[in-house]
């Protein structure tokens, strides 16, 4: 399963309570649209750390890394490459 699919499935299941793929655009801001709040982002971070075995540093907790499916995919991919 791709990084993108895993992230989309997690968001759809836990915050939108649906398996309808059309309910979430990859470039939608979670915070602006109210899909996830800042506590929710902490949950997403816990999910990313467990699922992809990465460590999210304090300075990486910025919307550019975490506030849409596209941003998370780019961030996780970058972290995974850095770990290799």
């Amino acid at each position: 399963m791709s990084v993108e699919t895993k992230i989309r499935d997690y968001i759809l299941e836990n915050y939108l309570f649906t398996d309808d793929q059309s309910a979430l655009e990859n470039d939608t801001s979670f915070l602006d649209k109210g899909i996830i709040d800042s506590t929710g982002i902490m949950e997403v971070i816990a999910f990313l750390q467990e699922e992809f075995e990465i460590e999210v540093e304090d300075e990486e907790m910025i919307p550019e890394n975490l506030d849409s499916v596209n941003n998370i995919v780019a961030y996780v991919t970058k972290k995974q490459k850095a770990d290799q």
Binding site: L31, S38, A46, E59, M61, I62, L66
Partner: protein
């Protein structure tokens, strides 16, 4: 300079007129809506509850106001002393109830310490703790640091993982909820109403516990900025040590300012930021007012909006599937 002066001035107001307006509203609310014959105020020793108690006395007289001092294990002795000074100054009947045994029995300290030990295994007897917020006003996503201090004074700090963060906050929320349970007991016993003591910034930014300090029958200073609450305290002639008290949460065992826990700006700057935001002033104006870079002022504005969004549900009653006819609407 001119802008800064003007904006500091906007929080100035006619304290006597405002006190008259609030006390009239308290009497009208009790008479027309709540139909209770007095008020219960929990007195923390801080400025907000002190001003609420003083306004209650001004509205109803000291015989119709009942003060509660509700310290627990982590409350500072200074808070309790200031609370007693205030109650005696106002001449109200008051009761001191140590809620530590209740909090122990309900598991407050146990659940909190369990989560702290998962973060710092060495934490135990004689250690102190607090939580600090970070991120939002630097453009990052808000997150929380746990700070502990060993008995020999060594400080340690780590970012809290989600599970432990939620458990520590949930456990400490017992404090506000047990206090409110006690306030409603005495209100029911006396046929009084319960006063909620948030100032405008706390109310606007959701800095309260739902069904804890957020619960009340009337909130007489929810429209006043903290600067104005201090001005009101002086106008009402409250004791000097109360007028000079620094805002703290008095919830964690290490000294913790409210700005450190929640706002990430000292209260006077937070007042100005909220005022400026409410009046659609550009971030550049706020930057000049509180002496920060424009980008940071914009982060402060964004953080205000984020907190409004994330705490909106704390204000709401339970949501229904559809409107139910019958209960009368909330009075305006």
């Amino acid at each position: 300079m001119g802008v800064t002066n003007t904006l500091h001035d906007v929080l100035k107001f006619d304290e006597a007129k405002e006190a008259e307006k609030i006390t009239q509203k308290i009497r009208a609310t009790l008479r027309d809506h709540l139909r209770r014959r007095g008020l219960v105020v929990a007195i923390s020793g801080g400025i907000d509850s002190s001003v609420c108690a003083a306004l209650s006395v001004k509205a109803l007289g000291p015989k119709k106001v009942f003060g509660l001092l509700l310290p627990e294990q982590d409350s500072s002795a200074a808070s309790k002393d200031r609370g007693t000074v205030l109650a005696e100054h106002l001449g109200i009947e008051h009761l001191l109830v140590d809620i530590k045994p209740t909090l122990e029995a309900i598991g407050c300290y146990h659940w909190r310490d369990e989560a702290i030990k998962e973060t710092f295994p060495e934490y135990g007897e004689g250690w102190k703790n607090k939580i600090a917020i970070g991120g939002g006003t630097q453009g990052k996503i808000n997150h929380f640091q746990l700070i502990v201090q060993s008995p020999d004074g060594e400080l340690k700090q780590k970012r809290l993982a989600l599970k432990q963060y939620l458990q520590i906050v949930a456990a400490t929320n017992f404090k506000q909820r047990i206090r409110k349970t006690m306030e409603f007991f005495h209100a029911d016993r006396l046929n009084y109403a319960v006063v909620g003591t948030p100032n405008r910034v706390e109310y606007d930014q959701g800095f309260f516990v739902k069904n804890g300090d957020g619960s009340a029958d009337i909130k007489p200073i929810a429209h006043l900025y903290k600067t104005q609450v201090y001005a009101m305290a002086r106008h009402l002639g409250l004791p000097e040590e109360i007028c000079n008290a620094t805002p703290t949460t008095d919830t964690y065992s290490l000294p913790q300012g409210q700005d450190e826990f929640y706002y990430a700006l000292p209260f006077d700057k937070m007042d100005l930021a909220l005022y400026a935001h409410n009046h659609n002033l550009p971030a550049a104006t706020l930057a000049e007012m509180i002496d920060v870079p424009v980008a940071q002022a914009q982060y402060v504005y964004d953080d205000i909006e984020t907190k409004r969004k994330t705490t909106a549900m704390l204000h709401w009653p339970a949501l229904l599937v559809e409107k139910v006819e019958g209960p009368l609407p909330k009075p305006e």
